[in-house]
């Protein structure tokens, strides 16, 4: 299954024809797969965030500023720059560790707005204020087939990130996450320190959200404070829920399906109504398919078996 998906990802540029539009869509899809997977990683400990744009954007700014200052390749600065959101994530996590559900959702949401405000006011000397700053490209556009190389390099990073998440979640850490999520008191009784694991989850999630943000920014070549926008915070939530919360495949499936739907509707010339479609889909999925699209094949099989029995 995983190998089939990987093979599909590897050959898809050739099947669809490697033109600029398709490659851009595919690259952004991969970036958002990393981003949603990072967001989803946090939900394994029972936490949720409505402000991941803070980390996404800080990754972009961190990596850009380092790349500009040192002249290193963006491929290196991405992983250094993401340290900034990881540190901020640790700080926010430390504040939020006692908070749950809607409190946590609101505080994380608030941090995204506070960080945006700081960027355009206090730190505008570095960030360029609302105008933003130019960011070095991942690869120079003079290299032949540079987008194709970009696609494969980002695909490699995506695979590494997801494999890393899988390893963490299968280890003792993953078990600890599950224990904290199901019953914090019992987890504590079993000798698990919930604070430590929550902070670890927050930091890891922030780090990889930052990696995703940096990748997007270096792909675009420009960064403005709009990257901290509410939309950017909500997308990974929508992708992960529609795909299936708390599964590794969920954010991947969700990102692919919703992005295709989104771009498909755009090509039909639908603008505002796209959001309405996404909104209705989200409501319907939460009510009728609470485990997301990944549970759909199982549900259909169940339904078929029931029908077969009746007949």
């Amino acid at each position: 299954m995983q190998l089939a998906a990987l093979a599909a990802a590897a050959v898809i540029p050739f099947l669809l024809g490697a033109n600029l539009y398709i490659l851009t869509v595919l690259i952004l899809m991969l970036v958002f797969i990393i981003y949603s997977s990072a967001w989803n990683f946090l939900t394994y400990t029972g936490q949720g965030s409505l402000g991941h744009a803070a980390f996404f954007g800080l990754g972009g700014y961190g990596s850009t500023l380092i790349a500009v200052a040192t002249g290193l390749s963006p491929y290196i600065t991405i992983f250094i720059g993401a340290g900034l959101p990881a540190l901020v994530g640790l700080f926010i996590g430390a504040i939020c560790v006692r908070l749950k559900e809607w409190f946590l959702a609101m505080v994380t949401f608030g941090f995204a707005i506070i960080i945006q405000t700081l960027m355009v006011s206090q730190f505008s000397a570095w960030s360029g204020g609302w105008d933003g700053i130019a960011s070095p490209r991942l690869l120079s556009s003079s290299i032949p087939n540079y987008l194709l190389i970009e696609y494969y390099s980002i695909l490699a990073i995506t695979v590494l990130v997801i494999v890393l998440f899988a390893i963490i979640l299968r280890s003792r850490i993953g078990l600890a996450f599950a224990a904290i999520r199901e019953n914090e008191l019992e987890a504590r009784a079993a000798g698990i320190n919930p604070v430590k694991y929550r902070l670890f989850a927050f930091m890891t999630s922030a780090y990889f959200a930052g990696v995703a943000g940096a990748l997007e920014i270096h792909h675009m070549g420009y960064i403005t404070p709009e990257i901290f926008g509410v939309d950017i915070s909500f997308w990974p939530v929508i992708y992960s829920i529609s795909g299936g919360l708390g599964t590794l495949a969920g954010p991947i499936v969700g990102t692919i399906v919703i992005t295709l739907l989104w771009d498909g509707l755009q090509s039909l010339g639908i603008s505002y109504a796209r959001y309405i479609v996404i909104g209705i889909l989200l409501v319907l999925i939460i009510i009728f398919l609470p485990k997301g699209l990944v549970s759909l094949p199982g549900r259909i099989r169940e339904w078929m078996e029931k029908r077969a029995k009746k007949a």
């Binding site: 939900t43 409505l50 609101m106 505080v107 608030g110 707005i113 939530v237 919360l245 505002y272 889909l281």
Partner: protein
């Protein structure tokens, strides 16, 4: 920075008036939370709809916009009941993250439906009393502010009387105190859910009308920030506590205006979160909230 008493008083009065709109939103959120134990993150979108309903009726009829409260509140009540029935009831009791997520879906639906109906331009309406200022306690204050403050007080008193003196209001309070107990006493709790959501939406509609009348601009995407501020107020005041919402709203309105005055306009929106976060660090359940567990 030194603030002279005159200016301080002026800022307090601005804050009172700004606080009024947030109080109406926060009271609605609290009412819904009290009865249903859910948080409607799409509450700001209801305020936005209230403002646009007012705008539409105002441009069609040219009535005094304050009279249009009689249009925006009932329309929003009907809408609130519909939303409760279609979206929130099916997920009641299925986990707290779900209601946050379903609100996200609602935000997308309502914002963009409004953008299709009214386009995404910024709108403004002008109150007939716009140019009139009166002097209260030696402070010059636009007449509109005074009307808005009075209207809010009137609405809150009406709500208080409803909750305290009527059978329906008592049934709602009973449901919010103990849902199972209320059910055993023969109260139709699902009906209470619908009514509380309806009233909450109606209050948001009233807030929307006042928002429009006070000369603030609005477009289909403006609802999130007032909602978040209302949420901050709810947290400051304690979830489910209506007196807390009122005090929180006043504190918040005044703090926000002082922040704009001293830190600069860029901080208008961020300051709410700073307050919120500071409060939550000190007291994770809010200043007036009961400690949970």
């Amino acid at each position: 920075m030194v603030v002279s008493p005159d200016i301080a008083l002026q800022v307090v009065i601005w804050g009172l008036y700004a606080g009024c709109i947030y109080i109406l939103l926060a009271t609605g959120l609290n009412l819904i939370f009290g009865v249903m134990k859910i948080v409607n993150f799409a509450h700001g979108e209801l305020l936005m709809l209230g403002a646009f309903v007012t705008f539409t009726f105002f441009t069609i009829s040219g009535f005094n916009p304050y009279v249009l409260l009689a249009a925006s509140v009932p329309i929003l009540i009907v809408l609130g009941v519909t939303i409760e029935r279609l979206c929130f009831r099916p997920i009641l009791g299925t986990g707290k993250l779900n209601e946050i997520f379903i609100s996200l879906g609602l935000i997308y639906i309502i914002q963009n439906a409004a953008a299709i109906i009214w386009t995404d331009e910024w709108r403004i309406i002008h109150s007939p009393y716009e140019s009139i200022t009166i002097s209260v306690f030696g402070v010059n204050m636009p007449l509109d502010y005074l009307i808005i403050i009075t209207t809010t007080i009137a609405i809150l008193i009406a709500l208080y009387l409803f909750l305290r003196k009527t059978t329906l209001g008592r049934a709602m309070r009973a449901t919010s105190q103990n849902r199972k107990g209320a059910m055993l006493m023969g109260i139709n709790v699902e009906r209470m859910d619908m009514i509380s959501f309806g009233i909450g939406a109606g209050l948001a509609g009233a807030a929307g009308t006042l928002w429009a009348v006070s000369g603030q601009v609005f477009n289909p995407y403006m609802g999130s920030l007032p909602a978040i501020k209302a949420f901050a107020i709810v947290i400051i005041g304690g979830l489910g506590s209506i007196p807390g919402a009122i005090i929180g709203g006043l504190i918040y309105g005044i703090a926000e205006n002082f922040a704009i005055f001293t830190l600069g306009g860029a901080w208008k929106d961020a300051i709410s979160f700073l307050i919120l976060i500071l409060v939550l660090i000190v007291r994770p359940t809010g200043i007036f909230g009961e400690s949970s567990e």
